[in-house]
């Protein structure tokens, strides 16, 4: 039984808050090097490719590759660097005891391991040194393409994780399509489409009749109001060209 705490004036105080659990999908930056200058150069290049994607985005720093390292991670530098690029570092995971202490000192949360660190270690050798030290979320699951051959109705959401999404049918206004790769729609496209959800700037949207409420590639978006009328109801492709979202007629 709950204990009734007497409150002055109010006999039945309305609850001022609720405590709830909720899960969020956050980008993870898996550090592969302790050299913060290299990290900075490569991270800046990555962010330049999709500035909209990183703006005010909470990120988690994954230290599992560096847990055995003796060197100092240099959290003040790293946190300053991430904030400077518009990200909000919220916590670390997979670090050693000393690294966790250093992270705590910077008021970063220590997040639990998700039990996949073994698998991540196994994948690590495949990451070439030329790759930016970004947590490559594509690696979490093999690229899967999704094909849907019925209408996508208002209120329905479809997500192709790690691959392309193809719809052979109409996409209604109020429906939402998301894919880490490209999106193809062969019926009239009236809903919202987000290609390159995880920041793939090479992703494209192809459709037979553009009537979409919103089109987005790697964080760059355009709402219906800003789509030129002469492109509406036409066969088009939507892609990023030097950080500019372009809509070009096909054929």
């Amino acid at each position: 039984m709950a204990v009734q705490i007497p409150t002055e004036g109010a006999t039945a105080a309305a609850p001022a808050f609720e405590l709830k659990a909720s899960s969020f999908t956050l980008p993870v930056i898996r550090l592969l090097s302790l050299d913060m200058d290299t990290v900075e150069t490569q991270l800046e290049a990555k962010v330049d490719q999709a500035p909209g994607f990183f703006r005010n985005t909470p990120v988690v720093i994954d230290l599992s590759e560096l847990a055995q390292e003796k060197g100092n991670v240099g959290f003040p530098h790293l946190v300053g660097l991430l904030r400077g690029l518009g990200m909000i570092p919220v916590g670390v995971r997979g670090g050693g005891a000393a690294q966790n202490d250093a992270a705590r000192a910077m008021e970063l949360a220590i997040l639990g391991d998700n039990g996949r660190s073994g698998r991540q270690h196994a994948e690590a050798p495949q990451q070439s040194g030329a790759e930016p030290p970004m947590g490559d979320t594509h690696g979490d699951h093999p690229p899967v393409s999704v094909l849907v051959d019925r209408p996508v109705r208002s209120g329905q959401r479809l997500y192709a994780a790690g691959g392309d999404l193809t719809i052979v049918g109409p996409v209604s206004s109020g429906a939402e399509l998301m894919a880490d790769g490209n999106i193809h729609v062969y019926g009239p496209l009236r809903g919202r489409v987000i290609a390159g959800l995880k920041g793939d700037i090479g992703a494209r949207i192809f459709c037979r009749s553009l009537e979409a409420e919103l089109v987005s590639v790697a964080g760059h978006y355009r709402v219906s109001e800003n789509i030129p009328t002469d492109l509406k109801r036409r066969s088009v492709q939507v892609f990023l060209d030097h950080e500019v979202l372009r809509i070009e007629p096909l054929g």
């Binding site: 208002s154 209120g155 109020g174």
Partner: protein, 269 residues
């Protein structure tokens, strides 16, 4: 087993109950044993439209709770021997409908009837999802205006994902589009979406177009399903719809604005 038909829409006030009553009466008149169930617990109306509101003793929720058996709750229509009405409770709320309870009632009814017509409440919440969960066919009632069309589209999405057939991976619910309150004159003036517009948005098999008609309101007030008013355009259109549902090849009527003479203007169509 009976075929279960849900009459649904998402939006309220588009003519679900009128359609449920007309469809049930139309099927029964053609000799099929039919029962029509009001799922709108707390806001029941079907009994009024069917003209049996003064004969309600037990209701759907009583049956689910085991307080009455089906035969006690079913009301036989006075105009047609093969039609029965299972009224909703006005004093409970929709949470009284449990999936298990609804399933049991439908299964029991399925043994003695050819068609079970479920009149869904508006909205996409519990009552509406209960009405459509066990359905084999769905008639999506839509008015030719954008908000109704969008709500119908949302409902179609729910039909495709949250029904028993969808969950069991069986053949999906057969969906039919019924346009109601259609006014050819207003379409001509560009004030209303045309049949083609709606079909283009919903891409769905059109089962009928019911013209806007005073006869519908008159029939509701009198407690007579409008399908019995065979002189009215709405009654004729509902009869066509039932015939099409049963596989008949009936051409669509009342799609074009007619040039009205002074008498038909005065006395209605």
């Amino acid at each position: 087993m009976a075929r279960i038909i849900v009459i649904t829409s998402g939006k309220g006030g588009v003519g679900k109950t009128t359609t449920a009553a007309a469809m049930a009466m139309g099927l029964a008149q053609r000799g099929h044993r039919t029962v029509v169930i009001d799922f709108d617990v707390g806001l029941r109306n079907l009994d009024l439209i069917m003209g049996c509101e003064r004969r309600v003793v037990f209701d759907f929720v009583n049956v689910i709770n085991g307080e009455a058996n089906l035969n006690q709750a079913l009301i036989r229509d006075k105009r047609c021997d093969s039609l029965y009405v299972l009224p909703a409770s006005q004093t409970r709320d929709k949470d009284a409908l449990t999936q298990e309870g609804v399933g049991q009632v439908l299964e029991e009814l399925g043994k003695g009837y050819d068609y079970i017509v479920c009149d869904s409440p508006a909205g996409i919440e519990h009552g509406a999802t209960m009405a459509m969960y066990f359905a084999d066919d769905a008639v999506v009632v839509t008015n030719p205006e954008v908000s109704s069309v969008r709500d119908s589209d949302r409902m179609l999405g729910i039909l495709a994902s949250k029904s028993r057939r969808a969950e069991a991976g069986e053949e999906p619910i057969k969906e039919h589009l019924l346009l109601t309150r259609y006014s050819a004159e207003r379409v001509q003036r560009g004030e209303m979406l045309s049949v083609e517009d709606v079909q283009e948005i919903l891409s769905l098999n059109l089962i009928g177009v019911i013209p806007e008609s005073q006869a519908v309101l008159n029939a509701s007030n009198a407690g007579i399903p409008v399908v019995l008013d065979t002189d009215s355009n709405a009654g004729k259109a509902y009869n066509d719809m039932v015939a099409r549902y049963l596989g008949g090849d009936v051409p669509m009527r009342f799609l074009d604005a007619e040039k009205k003479g002074i008498f038909s203007r005065l006395f209605g169509g």
